[in-house]
């Protein structure tokens, strides 16, 4: 499938970082996190539910996120996840690591224009 080919295989540990980054804007449920990752990556990153939920539960067990039951805007009973203090610290550390990494890779590729990541 053409669409499948445009997807990017996620490196080990990358998904955790992306989830934490996504939760930076506030509490979100699993479905929402998936949607947001997809939207923010121009459909390049499509997270499998079989990866997303294990990752969420793994992060929860590591006390980087915290899950709780809530009502969605449509009144549905949903489980939402929010960053914990430890999660914020981890995100900050991972972020600087990732920025250095993308910077380094960008340097190697030596592109005509550099695009700053927000």
């Amino acid at each position: 499938m053409a669409k499948g080919q445009s997807r990017i295989e996620l490196l080990q540990g990358t998904l955790d970082f992306i989830i934490l980054q996504t939760l930076r804007w506030g509490p979100q449920h699993g479905f929402g996190i998936g949607q947001q990752i997809r939207a923010n990556s121009d459909d390049a990153l499509q997270v499998d539910t079989g990866s997303l939920y294990p990752a969420l539960h793994r992060l929860e067990r590591a006390k980087l996120v915290e899950g709780s039951w809530d009502r969605s805007d449509k009144g549905q009973h949903v489980r939402v996840y929010r960053l914990t203090t430890a999660g914020r610290k981890r995100l900050a550390a991972d972020r600087s690591k990732w920025e250095r990494m993308t910077h380094a890779i960008a340097g190697i590729l030596n592109p005509p224009q550099r695009r700053e990541e927000s």
Partner: protein, 872 residues
Amino acid sequence: MRDDELDEELRSHLEMDIAQRMTRGASRADAEAAARREFGNVTHVAEVTREMWGGQWIEQLRRDLRYARRSLWRSAAFTTVVVIALALGIGANAAIFSAVRGVLLKPVPNKDGDRLVYLRQSANGPGQADISFSVPEVRDLRTGVSSFSGIAEYSSISVVHRSSEGPVRISVGLVTGNYFEVMGLSPVLGRLTHTADDGPSAAPVAVLSYEYWKTRFGGDARIVGSTILLNDRPVTVIGVVQPAPFFPERVDALLNLVNSAHHLSAAMQQNRTHRMTQLVARLKSGATLDQAKVQVATVYAGLQRAFPEAYSAGERYQVAVIPFKDVLGERVRLTLWLLMAAAAFVLVVSAANVANLTLMRCVRREHELVVRTALGASRSRLRRLLLVENLMLAMAGCGFGVGIAVAGVRLLTAFTRRYTSRASEIRLDSTVFTFAVAVAIGLALLLSLLASLPREANVGSSVLAGPQRVSGSLRRQRLQRGLVVLQVAVSVVLLAGAGLLTRTMMSLSRIDTGLTTDDVLTLRVNLLTALAPGDTNAYAVVRARFEDVRSALASLPGVSRVGVSSSEPLQALGNYSLVRADGPTASTGEAVARADFRPADPSYFAAAGIPLLRGRGFDAADESRDNVIINKTLADQFFPNRDPIGKRIAVKEEGSANALHWRTVIGVAGNTRDMTPKAAPELVVYTPLSGMPATFAVFVVRADGHLTGLAPVATRIVREHAPNALIEDVMTMSEYKSQSVAPQRLNAVLISSLGGLAVIIAAVGIAGVLAFSVSARTNEIGIRMSLGADRKRIQRMILGEGGVLLVVGLAIGGVGAYATTGVMRNLLFGVAPHDAVTFGVVMAAMAVVGVIACWIPASRAARIDPAIAMRI
């Protein structure tokens, strides 16, 4: 709780996706389908997510266990058969392994016990397999062999221990002071003997064995320092030794030499042929067994050169140096390994059977596994489920097996006690338990590998095929059939062994003992109390008491004759002396015969039922004459084609250097034969009673047809005459006979039960595989029937299928039995290891059982209703 939450979380994900798709204009159905497609396998997602939870494996194990329990419960018949088969297999193996380990494998408890060696002097002839050493020989070995750090001397005798609880006969070891140091033993209480306890001036002391201290004195620590009465002499208990084996038999106490006047006598100390001392030596550190063997052989060769009269050339004297551990288990080694092999065979048969049952169950469950895969269970998860199930089965089998082993160990301990002092070391300890668990886990792993799991790629077609599709893959069928053949073959080997041992027992119990009657009761009476210390007239006093008891017994109703002797009929007294016939002077190096000297009173022959073939029996006047009666074997050997009556035989008695005593033959008695596999008819010389040790007597009571109830009456009569005497061996001749074949009977019973077990399991195996084949072929059979095959034909077809397996199994088993029964040669009597009759009977029996096992599924196949069969 948490599972529900996860389910709800995933459900809400789907709902939100559907809702979103519907807002974009999709119909409910389309949205749902698309959302599900995108979501993937819900069960699978839940499964992998759950794995992230902490303490997950415990949770999973709990779930797997619950699942396994439910699934095993549903197939209760399968579970029962498997658990029983495994329990029997594991139980028999654990019990016999405990015995093998305790008696043959485990290091002896002695400190550095692997450096202990037993020295065995032997010569050709009856009773000479282990003749032990004389004190002068020991002295020469001690000075000549430098690779020993010490040589401990001991001899075992039995004494009567008299206490407030009444007299008991106990075995004791008379040991030199260095015994415990050489043996590497420590006291649990008090002290052990040392060299200061040697010599005639030492006080008599005793060290109790741990077992006797526990059983007789209840483990009372106050026993140390107290005095006990052994053979009516006071002996001070100085300590209790750690549990340790003694050779050749278990002992209850160890005494210093001063306890036996004989051991300090000149005859014992100086006579080179007065051999009563057994030796255990300790290898010096750095010295090897081979060095010791060479040095012992050198010293011994020197002794034979220096003292030719002590080593009659015709008898081939030799000395062997044997590791102590090996000598302790030598008499039971072959039997134990045989049992171990038989038990291993049973385990093979039951494991093969369980494997077959598991294979069949797997086929029936194929659909279930396919559905589970379709629902998202990963292959590794299914493997784990099967493994947990098999582990559960194996552990249940192991649990019951250990129960069986506990009973088995008790039986084996009683059995091996006759042959080795290490029997008390047999126990089901953690090592044996680990062994059983390891066997169980190994089996479970093996069984789990047998199951073939559905491949994810084929799941679709497999689900569509539906539950009725039973896949009988060729490979699996071959495996099943191979397992059946294996079971039959192994059963045949076991049965052959069992058959040979049963024949051995039968030929032993049919031995012609040479006695004309079985209606004889014997009582061994120790009249120790009758002897006043220092009474020079003791012998006459004792004889008078014997006579009183004899006539009292003779006056009992139904009793026809009562004789007195030193040994029960059919029991060698072991009182061997060298004898030589009168006639031309013996040339040097002439083989001398060794005969057992058995005292007998005038009534003995008639009472015991030993026929007198020539001459006359003893009369009262013979007491003071040098007259003897010889048995037929001796007469044939010494006086071939001549009348022995009135001829003389020369007796060279131990302790009297080279002096010969001349005895006149007055009669020839029929041969009697001990009922042990190895015993050839012995040379026997019967002497008048005056040659008898005065301390005990055996009363031989003949009561033709009136034996029932005689034992308690006779015991009471003896008790009246000797209130404090120890009365032993009260038994009838048939009891004695049955007791003397008891070891062989137990051998036969043990191996036969293992063989029977294997046959039953194998029969279940054949029937099961055929029944499975029938159910898999129901459709085919239906078609055959509707095309005109009659019931007989169908039955023949299934019978033929089983028959082929049976025949192949029988053939392989027959060859296997032929190849292996040779190792049993030493356990057999009156039957050859490759006895055709036994093999024939065994094969026939297996064939009959096999055919019956085939018959049941075959007739079930014949009853299939084609109309119903086709519909399925």
